[in-house]
């Protein structure tokens, strides 16, 4: 230390400090920032691979160029994918919703049909059609970095009406439903908010900031880890199911006992 402080008035000291600072900042930037840069750089072969996968697996409904297909009577065979962005592809294909098994009121989660590399290629291809929401980085969806209490408030205000206060999901109209949120990866939760798949509204970065989204993810992950002190979660939908169990088991046991007591002796 004394060796450094002895030279602090050297004419080149300022230049050296400036140089070191620039190197450190540049190095940090190179380590932290370029994830998205790299993914959009590494593209031309990836986009081409994605285009080929798209032509085989997706174009029968969404059209060869992702422009969508609509019948003359207005029935949508496959919506246009221009501008839906990489986040929508990563969510729909990564949760197994796409390719869709069968048309219906709602397309549900299923077995994932593509490898991670193939999903990334498909996402790169669809993102190349027109700019759209990008796949969030790991830091944006880190549950450990979020504020659980604030996330709970945001969840109850914006999400709980459909997905239930503890993320158990719920029914909507005409066979549609809000899916349960247990076991969904943080990235997919983020992408669902960002893109609004199927009947879900869109919560873009202006209506729910990235910080809000990360807090919501932190809340959802924290309630997944909550213990069930009674041994059963009972769907974790609150006093209704607990009361129902109390009635069925408690009153049922009382009726059974009364029948046994009043039964003919043998």
């Amino acid at each position: 230390m004394t060796a450094i402080s002895a030279r602090r008035r050297h004419p080149l000291a300022a230049a050296v400090v400036l140089f070191v600072t620039l190197v450190v900042l540049g190095g940090l930037y190179a380590v932290l920032a370029p994830a998205s840069q790299a993914s959009s750089e590494a593209s031309s072969t990836q986009i081409e691979e994605g285009r080929q996968l798209f032509a085989i697996g997706c174009s029968s409904c969404h059209g060869l160029g992702g422009e969508g297909q609509v019948r003359d009577d207005g029935t949508v065979i496959g919506p246009s994918l221009i501008g839906v962005g990489a986040a929508a592809v990563d969510f729909q294909v990564g949760t197994g919703r796409m390719p869709a098994g069968a048309p219906g009121a709602q397309i549900s989660r299923g077995a994932v049909q593509y490898t991670d590399d193939e999903i990334a290629a498909l996402a790169a291809y669809v993102a190349s059609l027109a700019p759209g929401p990008e796949i969030p980085g790991a830091a944006a969806v880190d549950p450990d970095a979020g504020d659980v209490a604030r996330g709970g408030e945001m969840f109850r205000t914006n999400c709980a009406q459909c997905h239930n206060a503890s993320g158990q999901g719920g029914a909507l109209s005409y066979g549609k439903y809000a899916p349960a949120l247990q076991g969904v990866t943080p990235t997919h939760i983020y992408e669902a908010m960002l893109t609004g798949p199927q009947a879900m509204p869109v919560f873009n970065d202006q209506t729910l900031t990235p910080e809000d989204k990360r807090d919501i993810i932190a809340f959802l992950k924290s309630i997944e880890d909550e213990p069930n002190p009674g041994g059963f979660g009972l769907g974790r939908i609150g006093p209704v199911s607990e009361g129902l169990w109390g009635w069925l088991l408690g009153i049922g046991a009382l009726i059974g006992t009364a029948v046994w007591l009043g039964a003919k002796r043998s």
């Binding site: 408030e153 945001m154 205000t157 914006n158 009406q161 459909c162 719920g170 909507l172 109209s173 549609k176 809000a178 609004g196 199927q198 009947a199 879900m200 509204p201 869109v202 919560f203 873009n204 202006q206 209506t207 809000d212 213990p227 069930n228 002190p229 041994g231 007591l261 003919k264 002796r265 043998s266």
Partner: protein, 359 residues
């Protein structure tokens, strides 16, 4: 009143022969008489000494085990600490070890005492059938005659029948007595005025995010967006007292943005929207549940309580369920700073309908 016993039986015991009070009554014309209750079957414990001794041992061991469990409860209370020396909880799974031990010992002891008592009664105690006859509800003849005589004596001594002026003036006073109650109930204080029709929304009140209370620019919403919102002046209300709670129940709204091509705009509401951004009350018009179950692809808003469904692209019309009128829409505008504001309060009252709604 003085009908003979047999006559009354005939009057009330319709369809019964009534030959004897002790025999069970028979429906007229029933070819097979009611055999009555079957005699109790003999139990194994009645005829087999070994079975009897076995049951005796079972009952005694249940009671004995209950005693042991009660003692075990006391022991468990002493030996299982609630916390370790360093303050940590002593848990098995998600429950305190102490709670489990206390609950299991005392609960099982109570169950065993109950089971033992029932087992004893069913297997060992005698079970003769005993019939208790019910006495007649009617009073005896001399009690009835005495009561009537007392009543007539009272009527004569009070001179109620003779002094007609007193009687009639009393009847008049009693007839007027309900009037104060009618007047009091008719006027329960000042009328509520516009409290049911008015909310916090007013000309120029900004629409802000619920929870964060940040003002909203139209550009923040894209087609398919949903924002749960409150009036900006809600935050100015005192944190204590009923006003804040009432306005929390009345004033919430939500914003959505719909492609203007999909929108049917009602006459007179042409300038209520900002580039397809619509603002509706969050309170269902059926019984006032908060609703934001929004399906962005069909523009339906579903109420989770009774499945009322409103088409937000069609002026909030009810398309399913028990709600009787459309969801009230808040007229929107943009202020000079570019934030969304209300043009006025709601034109239609929010929440459940009420009698004086259209007066």
């Amino acid at each position: 009143m003085t009908t003979p016993e047999s006559g009354e039986m005939a009057e009330y015991g319709e369809g019964r022969t009534g030959t004897s009070e002790l025999e069970p009554a028979q429906p007229v014309g029933d070819p097979i008489p009611d055999p009555g209750p079957a005699p109790p079957a003999e139990r194994m414990t009645d005829i087999d000494l070994k079975a009897e001794q076995r049951v005796e041992r079972q009952v005694a061991s249940m009671f004995g085990l209950a005693s042991l469990l009660i003692l075990a409860f006391l022991v468990a209370f002493v030996i299982f600490p609630l916390t370790t020396d360093d303050g940590g909880a002593v848990d098995v799974g998600a429950v305190r070890v102490s709670n489990v031990a206390l609950g299991v010992t005392l609960g099982l002891a109570l169950v065993l005492i109950g089971l033992g008592a029932i087992h004893w009664a069913r297997k060992l105690m005698t079970s003769k059938m005993v019939i208790h006859e019910r006495h007649q509800l009617r009073s005896t003849d001399d009690v009835r005659a005495e009561t009537l005589a007392d009543f007539e004596l009272g009527t004569a001594e009070s001179t109620f029948g003779r002094r007609k002026m007193i009687r009639n003036s009393l009847i008049g006073a009693m007839a007027l007595l309900p009037l104060p109650a009618v007047f009091l109930l008719r006027d329960l204080g000042p009328a509520p005025g516009g409290v049911k029709k008015n909310t916090l929304w007013d000309t120029g009140v900004r629409v802000v995010h619920d929870r964060t209370f940040a003002p909203i620019r139209p550009s923040e919403l894209q087609v398919g967006s949903l924002v749960v919102a409150m009036p900006e002046n809600f935050e100015e209300l005192p944190h204590e007292g009923p006003e804040r709670i009432n306005q929390r129940a009345k004033s919430p709204v939500f914003l959505i943005r719909i492609d203007p091509d999909d929108l049917r705009i009602e006459e007179g509401r042409e300038n209520w929207q900002v580039d397809g951004i619509l603002c509706y009350s969050k309170i269902c018009t059926h019984v006032g549940c908060p609703i934001t179950l929004y399906e962005s692809d069909t523009h339906h808003m579903l109420c989770p309580c009774h499945q009322s469904t409103f088409n937000l692209a069609d002026a909030g019309e009810v398309i399913f369920g028990p709600a009787a009128r459309p969801l009230p829409q808040l007229p929107l505008a943009v202020d000079e700073e570019g934030y969304l504001i209300a043009q006025s309060d709601f034109v239609d009252p929010v929440g459940p309908s009420f009698w004086e709604m259209n007066t």
